[in-house]
């Protein structure tokens, strides 16, 4: 059974690219376009990993992360933050809140895929 990745992002084209990449890497992909939708998805179908944008409508990525880390049931859930601000404060704050990793936009697609696989314990298959 393939591992699941939840993409939380409000920019449609970025969602497109991430879901394409995750699918190509062999994961099941779910999409949420704002913080509230993300929480609902986590509740109903907890993913193995979340690609979580910080700047989101309604409820930002930090709140989603806090919520995820508040429940021990989801402690195995990996969270990789996506930020366009690229500032250390955001990175530090995210790490303190329990994020597993950090990706700064505009990101390298290979890096994102590699990071996701790393955190999910998937060995890169040599093509």
């Amino acid at each position: 059974m393939p591992q699941t990745v939840l993409v939380v992002e409000d920019e449609p084209h970025i969602v497109d690219s991430l879901s394409f990449l995750m699918k190509k890497a062999g994961f099941d992909v779910f999409i949420a376009r704002d913080g509230d939708a993300a929480l609902r998805m986590v509740e109903s179908r907890p993913p193995d990993l979340i690609l979580l944008d910080i700047m989101l409508p309604r409820r930002d990525g930090f709140e989603v992360l806090k919520y995820v880390r508040s429940n021990d049931a989801w402690k195995e859930m990996r969270v990789i933050l996506l930020t366009a601000k690229g500032r250390d404060v955001d990175r530090l704050k995210g790490m303190e809140l329990g994020a597993d990793d950090f990706v700064t936009k505009p990101f390298s697609t290979k890096d994102v895929v590699r990071l996701v696989k790393q955190h999910l314990g998937v060995e890169e298959k040599l093509a």
């Binding site: 690229g86 936009k105 505009p106």
Partner: protein
């Protein structure tokens, strides 16, 4: 029977009494028990104002012009009652600066100027000598009349010259001896002449008693009291006239006389001497303020009764009215009374002569002779170790010379005018001191040049309008000088100068001297430079109370002087005893041992200067001190600074308070500014981070899909083209974003270029819509248009306004209903604005967000899940553009059924006017 020798003997006896009084008063003072500080003595010594002019002349004047004798006594009364603060200030200044005479006073005020003190001295001597001769004349005349006893032969004029001349000459001589004996005992003139003052006070009593005795004799002896006397007089028409004021021009004369005598009461050298120089302490003045006017009142009570009595008793008019006081007792064979009157007249004359010669000799010595001796015969005098002898010699010679001048004047000129007229000429002369003196006490702006020019002009005009005509009358000048003017030039007639007519001679003279004197004083002072020392002295005089006791005077001297030099200087002018006393006192007060102090401090230099000033006047003292103080003698600029500091302490503290208040408010402003800066900094950071975020977002898509395309060459064509399309779209978005950020930056920095032209707004809106036609038809959006016609043109930038309209239209297109899109654009005139509205039928904007949507990077995230976002800068930029044209961009209406944005562009001023005119 009153024979010559009885009169002479009584006179000598009287003078001996006077000598005795003066001698014992001086002895007493030497023991430190002087009585001149007694207020009654002070008040009585002020009675020196009443000379033989009063004694004989008042009655004469009353007999000829009624109450006109009164103003001469009204003036001093007014001065002491109303102006006693002025008098007090004069006294204070005199003491503070050890001033020895009125010449010293004026020259000190204007920077210790030697020329000025010399000028004042000359004016005083020229003005007062006739006055002195008047006293000699009075004594001589009264002696001449009295020795005819019991015959009343009072010739109106031309007494036998030889005898009279002798009398007057001997009187002059005796008075000179008295003045020398008691007036030049001390060298330091700022010390008091106790003997003289007490003798003067005694004389005031004698003359008052004599006058009152005759008054009582006439009023109650010859008549039954005032009522009877006035009744009898009123039966004679000419006498009735005397008791009323009907004469034309009487008021002008009164004002003139009162003014003159007010000034004379202070500025006459003898008045200045007794009021200020001889004053022991200021509280004396308090009693003097009411005692002196009382004395004047007492001596005037019987003037009119005696005059009326004389007119009634000598109806034929063959007796000189000036002698009534003497001839009335004689006619009634009251020989003791007549003798008392003679002695009274003698006392009036001698007191004046003594004080006046002492005052004048001081001035002549300190202000005329000494400066010349010190400067021109410098080497010879420098070797002289004891100067006191020279000083005494000069002073004593001056006394004798002044009296000889007085006698000479009397001998050659004195017979021409009545007593009062001569006196008034003197009054008018000293009146010339008033502008420089009074001005100098209250106006710091007065300077030396102004005082010099004013005094000189005033003196010249005085001489021309009063003295020369007097000479002419006595035959020294052709009498036509008065009637026809010099060389027949009528414009220069001395009594009608420059054609001024209708005033009595005195008022006329007073008018012109005042115009020239005060006018020049003020004018020249205003338009010439003040030297530093003038400013210093000006401040010290005008603000004498502020600097009264201590203060910066001692800092007038800088540089060093040896104690020995200063001491030797004092010894030379004051004698060893006085110098010893002064220095011992100085060192004792400071607890120093004199032998150990070698270099004098500024205080000691100042003390020496003050002591010297007392002996030789301020101007000469300054010269002497300069000769022994080495190095930088006077740093007046520094003194000015010190003075300013002292005088401005209060202002400073006030301004300090003000400053600290300002500081507080500045601090508050700074704090606010700082907070604002921090806020701006925070906003800038936020802006940058937002811009960064907004730029990264399209970049992310572009990079991702580029990498995907490059890493997955096996993609299907459909997918490839979809991804490429995304890349293109995001690139466009990125470009737009960059442009808008640059636009925003330019607008906010004021660097946006604006091209102004007259715009037809509907046309501009039309063009904007044209650019959107493709997307409109693609999305099948209904576009309604409602343009008003005949709208005025507006000046604006076509491209920028199109940017606004395109932004509004694209927002409308983006947010309108997806299924049945509808957009309406209207242009119309409302009041003085052209309004452009863009309406859509989208979901509307939450009401509370209606302002926030204009903030930078505010983006609607509602219902746009699948659409790429805008930049969030469009509305913000649009609003800034519209505001640049003084217009407004607002969300006019919004609801769940749609929004209406409105652009309001004001008409230009001239269009408003044109429109109003329609």
């Amino acid at each position: 029977m009153l024979v010559d020798w009885i009169i002479i003997l009584s006179s000598i006896g009287y003078l001996l009494v006077l000598f005795a009084i003066a001698y014992f008063a001086d002895k007493r003072a030497e023991r430190g028990a002087g009585i001149t500080s007694h207020p009654y003595i002070y008040a009585l010594s002020l009675g020196v104002y009443c000379t033989s002019w009063t004694f004989y002349g008042s009655v004469g004047r009353a007999a000829s012009s009624g109450l006109d004798f009164l103003p001469i006594y009204l003036g001093p009364t007014l001065v002491f009652v109303l102006w006693w603060l002025v008098v007090k200030k004069i006294i204070r200044i005199t003491k503070a600066h050890r001033i020895t005479s009125i010449a010293d006073f004026i020259s000190s005020r204007y920077g210790k100027s030697t020329p000025l003190s010399a000028l004042v001295t000359v004016i005083a001597v020229v003005g007062i000598v006739p006055y002195i001769s008047l006293q000699l004349k009075a004594v001589a005349t009264s002696f001449n009349v009295l020795k005819q006893y019991p015959e009343v032969i009072a010739p109106l004029n031309s007494p036998p010259i030889a005898t009279v001349a002798d009398t007057a000459f001997w009187v002059a001589l005796v008075l000179a001896i008295f003045a020398i004996l008691f007036g030049t005992r001390h060298i330091d003139n700022s010390e008091h002449h106790d003997g003289v003052v007490v003798a003067i006070a005694f004389e005031s009593v004698v003359k008052l008693l004599a006058f009152l005795a005759v008054g009582i004799f006439v009023t109650f002896g010859l008549y039954d009291g005032f009522g009877d006397l006035f009744q009898q007089a009123s039966r004679v028409p000419e006498l009735l006239q005397l008791m009323t004021f009907e004469k034309e021009g009487a008021y002008t004369t009164w004002v003139t006389l009162t003014t003159l005598s007010m000034v004379a009461a202070v500025c006459l050298p003898r008045q200045f001497q007794v009021i200020a120089v001889e004053n022991v302490n200021e509280p004396e003045l308090r009693k003097g303020v009411w005692l002196f006017p009382l004395y004047l009142l007492a001596i005037n009570i019987f003037v009119l009764p005696i005059a009326l009595g004389g007119m009634l008793q000598f109806p034929r008019g063959d007796v000189n009215a000036d002698t009534f006081i003497l001839t009335l007792p004689m006619a009634h064979e009251q020989e003791m009374l007549a003798l008392l009157v003679f002695l009274g007249g003698l006392s009036a004359a001698t007191s004046m002569v003594i004080v006046a010669t002492i005052a004048l000799s001081t001035m002549v010595c300190n202000d005329l002779v000494m400066p010349v001796l010190l400067r021109w015969n410098w080497l010879g005098l420098k070797r002289k170790s004891d100067f006191t002898g020279v000083l005494l010699f000069v002073r004593r010679s001056s006394i004798i010379l002044i009296l000889l001048f007085g006698y000479a004047y009397f001998r050659f000129l004195g017979e021409s005018d009545a007593l009062v007229t001569i006196g008034l000429i003197s009054f008018a002369a000293v009146f010339q001191f008033a502008p420089a003196m009074i001005g100098g006490m209250f106006w710091k702006g007065g300077n030396r040049k102004g005082a010099l020019v004013g005094l000189s002009l005033g003196f010249v005009v005085w001489a021309y309008t009063l003295l020369l005509p007097a000479f002419a009358k006595s035959g020294l000048l052709p009498i036509t000088f008065i009637a026809a003017g010099p060389l027949g030039i009528e414009l220069f007639r001395p009594y009608e100068l420059f054609g001024l007519q209708g005033l009595d001679h005195l008022t006329h003279a007073l008018f012109w001297t005042t115009v020239f004197n005060a006018g020049a004083y003020v004018f020249v002072s205003l338009y010439t430079r003040h030297s530093a020392i003038e400013r210093v002295q000006g401040a010290l005089f005008v603000d004498v109370y502020r600097y009264a006791d201590q203060g910066p005077r001692s800092q007038l001297w800088q540089g060093s002087a040896s104690v020995e030099d200063l001491f030797n200087l004092l010894v030379r002018f004051l004698g060893r005893a006085r110098a010893d006393r002064a220095f011992s006192g100085y060192f004792r007060d400071r607890g120093l041992e004199r032998r150990r102090v070698i270099t004098a401090d500024a205080d000691l230099v100042h003390l020496t200067e003050r002591l010297l000033s007392g002996a030789i006047g301020a101007a000469s003292a300054r010269v002497m001190i300069s000769s022994v103080v080495k190095g930088e003698v006077v740093r007046l600029e520094e003194v000015m600074t010190i003075l300013d500091e002292t005088s401005q302490v209060i202002e400073y503290s006030q301004s300090l308070e003000q400053k600290s208040k300002e500081l507080e408010s500045t601090t508050a402003q700074l704090r606010a500014a700082n907070e604002r800066l921090q806020e701006l900094d925070r906003l800038k950071d936020e802006f940058l981070s937002t811009v960064s975020h907004e730029l990264r977002t399209p970049l992310t898509s572009i990079r991702s899909f580029s990498e995907i395309l490059s890493d997955h060459p096996d993609l299907e064509d459909e997918e490839k083209s979809r991804f490429l399309e995304i890349i293109v779209k995001e690139s466009v978005r990125l470009t737009r974003l960059i442009n808008q950020v640059l636009d925003l930056a330019k607008i906010e920095a004021g660097q946006m270029e604006w091209i102004f032209e007259d715009l037809d707004i509907p046309q501009v809106v039309e063009n904007s819509m044209d650019t959107m036609s493709a997307i409109l038809s693609e999305k099948e959006i209904v576009l309604d248009v409602d343009f008003a016609t005949d709208l005025p043109m507006i000046r604006g930038d076509r491209d920028r306004l199109m940017q606004v309209f395109v932004n509004l239209l694209s927002n409308a297109i983006k947010f309108c209903d997806e299924e049945r899109g509808w957009v309406k654009v209207s242009v119309f005139l409302q009041g003085q604005e052209i309004v452009i509205t863009v309406a859509d039928n989208g979901q509307g904007v939450p009401w509370q967000a209606r302002e926030r949507i204009f903030e930078k990077f505010h983006q609607s995230r509602e219902g746009l899940a699948d659409k790429p976002h805008g930049t969030g800068l469009g509305l913000s930029i649009s609003r800034q553009i519209v505001e640049y044209f003084d217009g407004r961009l607002e969300l006019v209406d919004t609801s769940s059924k749609g929004s209406v944005f409105g652009v309001f562009l004001p008409l230009q001023a001239e269009q408003v006017i044109a429109k109003a005119g329609e």
